[in-house]
Symmetry: C2
Subunit: 172 residues, 2 copies
DNA sequence: CTTTTATGTTGACAACGACAACATTATGCC
DNA sequence: GGCATAATGTTGTCGTTGTCAACATAAAAG
């Protein structure tokens, strides 16, 4: 189920995921998914949680704060549909505890990296700022219409590097 | 139509907007909306464009860069549904030129404010960073599950003030 | 006054999420 | 082995939705 839904997510985005099409791709009847997920939102939540887990896994392999930021932006650009789903306002994290847990795990990682990079700063504020920066940057880069007109032709990873450097310089 | 859709947006969010319910609230038949919008996405695009226009209007009344950032975050918190819609990944801005224009107008405003606040910086990078910061901050604050656990009890506007100040200090 | 245009209506269709009832398979226990 | 229980899959159905087509009406233009 999750594999089929993942394909759909890549092909058509969040709105293109229907339980019936998932079932069709999995080669089962139109109601089989209900034996694994109580409703459509729960399937989406599981997909989103997968995303948080994968991003956490990748983040663990980045050593410093700047690398973690690059990691974040790179993930968003590689898997735009998954990224959008992870922060979809329609998905109420409070009703899907395993999704909430997966998200918090990622943010704990980020907080630790910030703590190590800027021990003198208020960790709360600095973490908030760091996350805001990489998350907002990802969103802007994904919004291709805006990025093309607003930000010339530079490749995305160059931009993300410059922005994150501007930030880490400001911290020190 | 737009008024009825706006109500629905506030009450149930983007996913809760159906053309038929909009028609119902407007007191017309289920297909009347198609005389004004070719499809559902076009109605959403018009709603989103309204949001960009309103935010641009407000931003014009803020004088300095920091105030503009506060303005952005405040708007997102006041009208979460509208804000989410404005940046909904499902809405292809390239297929709705008036939406794209409304969005670009807002970003031009931001760029001018950045140019004035930090004349020595690379305007492109600084604007990108500034937008990323306020946008990401808005998203994090809207994601209540994350904000409650990650950021203690501080009121949102206090957080946004501290974060924007951290950023403007870093610029100078 | 007539023609065109804007707007609204009715009816239909396929797809969807969700529910209920039933069938099948697997698993654990004796 | 054999049987009970849970897990999983299926068929059928309902209400809702987006969208299309055909038709009706009102407003505006000539």
């Amino acid at each position: 189920m999750l594999a089929a839904a993942g394909e759909l997510l890549v092909e058509k985005g969040e709105a293109g995921i229907s339980l019936r099409e998932v079932a069709r791709r999995a080669g089962v009847s139109h109601n089989a998914p209900y034996r694994h997920f109580p409703d459509r939102d729960s399937l989406l939540a599981a997909l989103a949680a997968e995303g948080f887990d994968e991003l956490s896994e990748r983040s663990r392999q980045a050593d410093e704060l700047a690398g973690l930021g690059q990691c974040y932006v790179a993930f968003a650009l590689e898997q735009p549909g998954r990224f959008a789903l992870m922060f979809s306002p329609g998905l109420d994290k409070s009703r899907h505890p395993e999704l909430q847990a997966a998200a918090l795990q990622l943010f704990d990682l980020l907080r630790e990296a910030v703590r190590q990079a800027a021990p003198k700063r208020d960790v709360q504020i600095a973490t908030l700022a760091a996350w805001s920066l990489v998350h907002g940057l990802s969103q802007l880069l994904l919004d291709r219409q805006l990025s093309e007109t607003l930000l010339g032709e530079q490749p995305a990873d160059a931009l993300s590097e410059q922005v994150t450097r501007l930030f880490t310089e400001g911290l020190g």
